[in-house]
């Protein structure tokens, strides 16, 4: 077995809303008792609707969201940290080893800094290079890896298209030599023609540099193409997790299957006779009892209203949190 680079154990991220006076305090479980392992060099997909907690989970793995309960273990063979109890100097070290790529390349880059300065900033802040020459050399090396034109380094971000900006963001994330990267909806704001280019670049980085990725997206078709392993999240919990092929050939949770059927088909003669998922994700301050998905689930039975299903292995390497994972073939049922 290979060393996991990152492992969450019973991770909970809880926020308390309301500040006491005249308002009732409410606990919000953004991430609720989640366990997952991202193996070394793995491209790990995390999918779910807005409000499912996928961004918070990604941030908790970077120690950018508070860890209320549980542990996050990072181990790259050289260093091992538990993010729940990590010391300040270790956290500083961890920042070099784990990085984030944001969704919106227009908002993520300072309009007043040149591309060179944007990419060099982490090096300077973390004190990774000693001289300006060393910094420049490192910036040029990374920029070339991200297929940026080196003559463009002196320009400002406004001169670039969305795809080029996202390559600049990726270069900035790579410059400190991280072993783990969280890419949060990194292609959602891009045109399809450019999306493919950025996805291919991320895959090349994973392959050539052996970096592990947590790739967060709401788009299962993108996840399907780039990820080795997928977890599906709903209202703070993982509802299904499996190697990509297994998950897509037979989803074992009705939510996954509903997400799949919601992808618009490219066939004009296949105009969505599949059952659409009704309603919206409920508020995490007041989650439904039992299985959190039961109010939107077509297959829900009485048992689902009281009994919370746990994530369990329903087929080899395939985990799902549904009482009826073995009983129903959700995809076939949905196609009707």
């Amino acid at each position: 077995m290979t060393n996991p680079v990152i492992e969450a154990k019973d991770l909970t991220v809880r926020y308390t809303l309301g500040h006491g006076f005249m308002t009732k305090k409410v606990d919000l479980h953004a991430v609720d008792n989640v366990s997952l392992r991202i193996e070394k060099g793995n491209f790990f997909g995390l999918v779910g609707e807005s409000g499912s907690g996928k961004t918070t989970l990604g941030r908790a793995l970077l120690r950018a969201a508070p860890i209320s309960e549980g542990h996050v273990i990072y181990d790259d063979g050289e260093k091992r940290f538990d993010l729940a109890t990590i010391s300040k100097p270790d956290l500083k070290d961890y920042r070099k080893r784990a990085q984030l790529i944001f969704q919106d390349p227009y908002a993520a880059l300072s309009p007043r800094m040149t591309v060179r300065d944007i990419i060099a900033e982490p090096l300077e802040v973390m004190g990774l290079t000693k001289t300006r020459e060393e910094t420049d050399a490192r910036v040029r090396e990374i920029a070339a890896k991200c297929r940026l034109n080196l003559e463009h380094l002196r320009r400002f971000p406004h001169a670039f298209s969305g795809g080029q900006r996202q390559r600049i963001s990726i270069a900035r994330a790579l410059v400190s030599g991280p072993r783990f990267i969280v890419a949060d909806e990194s292609v959602a704001a891009l045109d399809v023609s450019i999306q493919a280019d950025v996805l291919n670049l991320l895959k090349a980085i994973q392959r050539d540099m052996g970096i592990s990725f947590l790739f967060i997206s709401h788009d299962l078709s993108v996840i399907a193409h780039v990820c080795d392993h997928v977890s599906v999240m709903y209202l703070g919990r993982l509802v299904e997790t499996a190697p990509t092929r297994k998950l897509f050939s037979r989803p074992r949770h009705p939510y996954t299957s509903a997400l799949l059927s919601a992808i618009p088909s490219l066939d004009p003669d296949d105009r969505g006779d599949a059952q659409k998922l009704q309603g919206e994700i409920p508020s995490p301050t007041n989650p439904p009892p039992g299985c959190k998905f039961h109010p939107r689930c077509r297959f829900a039975r009485d048992r689902c209203k009281q009994d919370t299903p746990v994530l369990r292995e329903v087929a080899p390497e395939h985990f799902a949190a549904c009482h009826f994972a073995e009983e129903f073939d959700f995809t076939r049922e949905l196609r009707g």
Binding site: E49, S50, S161, G162, G163, Q164, D191, V192, S193, I194, Q195, A196, D197, L199, N200, H218, D219, L220, S221, V222, A224, H225, T244, R245, F248, A258, L259, L260, S261, A262, I263, P264, S265, L266, D267, P268, D269, R271, G272, K276, L277, Q278, E280
Partner: protein
């Protein structure tokens, strides 16, 4: 087929006055939309699709220059309106929000934040119809119910920030449709939504087309959404329409290399092994439009010496399928497909 088009756009050329001189955003674009028809307008950011759509309602900014040869004609039961010749705001109101309504990508930015959703619905109904306030309110609540918003009477008195993203987009559709427009312009209406909510909104729009028999100009960069909604498609690149035809022609048998590129770049859920092929390079700046065919700088099959000098005209295929490419004639015959 002989039905008169609801709106007819001919030789539409739009330039913007900027500090760097005149910038061409839309170049010689022509299309028709028939009553009850859904036309999908596809293209990358910067292709000019939103500028084209806004021209139909004259919503482009003050520095816009319409070419004198451009025509936009709206055929209404009580006569034609030459949209580009309208001068007074009062005349423009017949078009804006009256015959044509528009819904946008970001519904939060389209509602006034400090006025209730209901008051905004009432306001526009009072501008465009002779309804009393009470009648407008009743219709507003009815429309909210029609687009599937639970507790419409309570929601009517709420503000846009109290709605979820999907609900805001539904409310915006309700508002746009309450004046019974003949043409709805939908500018990336589902791009900001989750796939699950997107599927619901698409279903809703299909129902409404049938119910109100309204035409839709559906702008999106997502060919999957187009395949699910449109009757006909126009593909735009750098201000020009490069291919147009029925949704089946354009998606199944694309002829223009750009259309083919867009389809190949799309991740397909039923074929996980397929490589994702990006369209190489980036869309050029409108300040720096390539000569000849605007797509030649990114085209894998460009012919040196010809594509960078000749502006390709439209080649006609079967049943209204047209493409502006020097290689289109061969490809139309072969029926080269994706």
């Amino acid at each position: 087929m002989t039905a008169k088009p609801l709106i007819s756009v001919r030789d539409l050329t739009i330039r913007f006055r900027t500090d760097e001189g005149l910038v061409t955003a839309v170049d010689n674009v022509s299309f028709d939309i028939k009553p009850g028809e859904v036309l999908g307008l596809v293209g990358e950011s910067g292709s000019g699709k939103s500028v084209t759509a806004k021209a139909l309602m004259r919503l482009n900014a003050g520095n816009t220059v319409y070419d004198p040869a451009s025509r936009i004609v709206l055929n209404l039961p009580d006569g034609e309106i030459d949209v580009l010749s309208l001068k007074r705001d009062r005349d423009m109101r017949v078009v804006r929000g009256g015959s044509i309504s528009m819904i946008f990508q970001e519904p939060m930015a389209s509602f006034a934040p400090a006025i209730t959703v209901g008051d905004q619905m009432v306001e526009q109904l009072q501008i465009h119809t002779s309804m009393s306030k009470a009648e407008a309110k009743a219709l507003g609540i009815e429309m909210l119910a029609r687009v599937g918003i639970p507790e419409p009477a309570r929601r009517f008195d709420q503000y846009a920030f109290e709605f979820s993203g999907g609900m805001r987009q539904r409310a915006m559709i309700a508002m746009a449709l309450s004046t019974k427009p003949r043409l709805l312009i939908a500018d990336e209406p589902t791009t900001a939504l989750d796939v699950t909510i997107q599927a619901q909104v698409i279903d809703l729009m299909k129902d409404l087309v049938n119910e109100f028999h309204m035409a839709i100009l559906f702008i999106t960069h997502d060919l999957g959404v187009i395949a699910q909604t449109a009757d006909r498609v126009a593909v735009m690149y750098l201000g020009r329409i490069v291919e147009t035809g029925t949704v089946r022609q354009v998606i199944r048998d694309p002829v223009h290399p750009y259309t083919l590129g867009l389809i190949n770049a799309l991740p397909k859920i039923d074929d996980l092994t397929a490589e994702l092929t990006p369209v190489p390079g980036d869309i050029p700046s409108p300040l720096d439009r390539p000569p000849g065919c605007v797509f030649h700088t990114r085209c894998p099959v460009a012919i040196p010496g010809r594509c960078n000098t000749e502006i390709p005209g439209f080649v006609d295929g079967k049943d209204g399928h047209r493409a502006a490419c020097l290689l289109a004639a061969e490809r139309m015959q072969e029926g080269v497909g994706a």
